[in-house]
Symmetry: C2
C-alpha cells in the first residue's frame, strides 16, 4: 500500500520540518512543504493522507503534530539498531554522518576483518571482527544493515547477513545483491549515479517538471 517512494518522501518531509523550518513555525501548508521538497502540493497531500495527523483548511498542518505522526510511521516504537559492515573510507564517513542523528535509529554494531580496525572504536561504536557477526546480530536482534565492503565480498556478506536475520540492507557495493524476496535491499550505486549525471549534463532534454 505505502510504496518506497512515498516512504522516502515522508522521511524527507520530516527532515525538512525539523531542520529547515523557521523555528516557531506552528503550521505548514502542503504547498510550502512541496516547495521545500521539490514535489507537487498534491503529492504532499497524498503522502500525508494516510497519516493520523490531519490538516485544516486555512491553517494547513500543525507542525508538531505532523512531525509526531511522521515519527510514528517511520520510526520503530522503541528504537531500531543498525549494523555497519566494512569500516573503510566510506564506512567511516557513514559512521560519522549517521551517528547521533536519530534517536531511534542508531548504528550500534560495526564489523570489519582488518585486524587494524578490529577493537578500535569509531564514533563510540566498537568494531567487531566480522566472525562475530552472527553472534552480535542475534544478541542485539539487529535486522537492518549497511553494507560497505568491497564488491567481491558483498554477495557473500549479504548471504551471511540474511541468514543471521537481517531483513533490510543498504548496499554501497557496486553490485546488485541477490536476496530472498522478503528482504528489502536498497542499492546505492554511486558509479551509476555519476555516469547518469554526466550523461544528462550533456545530452538531450533533462527530465524534469516545470515550476
Amino acid at each position: 500500500m505505502v510504496q518506497p517512494h512515498a516512504i522516502g518522501r515522508l522521511s524527507l518531509y520530516r527532515r525538512l520540518l525539523t531542520d529547515h523550518l523557521n523555528p516557531g513555525t506552528q503550521f505548514v501548508f502542503s504547498h510550502e512543504l512541496a516547495t521545500m521538497a521539490r514535489v507537487s502540493p498534491a503529492q504532499v497531500r497524498r503522502d500525508l493522507m494516510h497519516l493520523d495527523s490531519t490538516g485544516s483548511p486555512s491553517k494547513g498542518y500543525r507542525v508538531d503534530e505532523l512531525v509526531a505522526s511522521l515519527g510514528n510511521e517511520l520510526d520503530h516504537p522503541t528504537g531500531q539498531l543498525v549494523a555497519l559492515v566494512g569500516i573503510g573510507n566510506l564506512g567511516r564517513a557513514l559512521m560519522t554522518y549517521f551517528q547521533g542523528r536519530r534517536e531511534r535509529l542508531a548504528i550500534t554494531a560495526a564489523f570489519d576483518r582488518d585486524p587494524e580496525k578490529v577493537n578500535r572504536v569509531y564514533q563510540g561504536c566498537r568494531c567487531h571482527h566480522v566472525e562475530e557477526l552472527e553472534t552480535v546480530l542475534k544478541r542485539d536482534n539487529i535486522r537492518t544493515t549497511i553494507l560497505a565492503v568491497p564488491a567481491a565480498d558483498a554477495q557473500r556478506m549479504a548471504d551471511r547477513l540474511v541468514a543471521a536475520g537481517v531483513r533490510g540492507l543498504l548496499n554501497y557495493a557496486p553490485v546488485p545483491l541477490r536476496v530472498p524476496n522478503d528482504v528489502y535491499v536498497e542499492e546505492q550505486d554511486m558509479t551509476t549515479a555519476l555516469e547518469r549525471v554526466a550523461y544528462f549534463a550533456r545530452e538531450r532534454r533533462p527530465p524534469r517538471r516545470e515550476d
Copy 2:
C-alpha cells in the same frame, strides 16, 4: 526518449560486463545480463534496443561490441571532467573511489574553503580554494559536479555552480536543490535511504518481483 532509469541500467550493464563476467566470455544472452543486473530479460533487451550493437539469436550479444556501444552511449567522446566541491569525510571517500575508475570521466578539480585543505593534493588532484571555483570551471569547461558540502551551504553552492555553467549535479547534501530546469540534479539522500531500509526491514510486504 531515453530516460534516467534506462541510462542507469546501461551504466550497470557495462560494469557487469567489464568487471563481473568470466574473462574470455565472448557472448551474453539477455537473460544472463538480466540475472546479474536483477532485472527482467525483456527489460535488458528493451534497454539495448536503441544501441547500435545488435544481438543474434542463438548466440546473444557480442560482449566486446556491446561494451563499445555502451561506452558510445554513456561516455563523452573525448572525455568529460568532473569537479568535486567539499573535501570532507565523504568528499575524500568519493575522491578515492572514483579516481582512476573511468578513463573518460575523471575528477580533475576539487574545492574546499578550509585553509587546511586548500592546496593539499588528494588522489593526484589539488584542492583549490572555493573562491577559484568560477575561474577553474570555466577554464576547464567543467559541466558536471559532485556536491559534498554541508546542507547549509548546498543551495548557495549549487547556484554558483549553475551560474558557472554546470549542467549536471550529484548532490550528497541532504537538502533538495532548486535549479533551473535545464540542469539535471541527482539527489543522493542517504538519510532517506537508511530510513526507508529500516522501515521495510520491519513493516509490511517488501515491494519486489518474484524470481
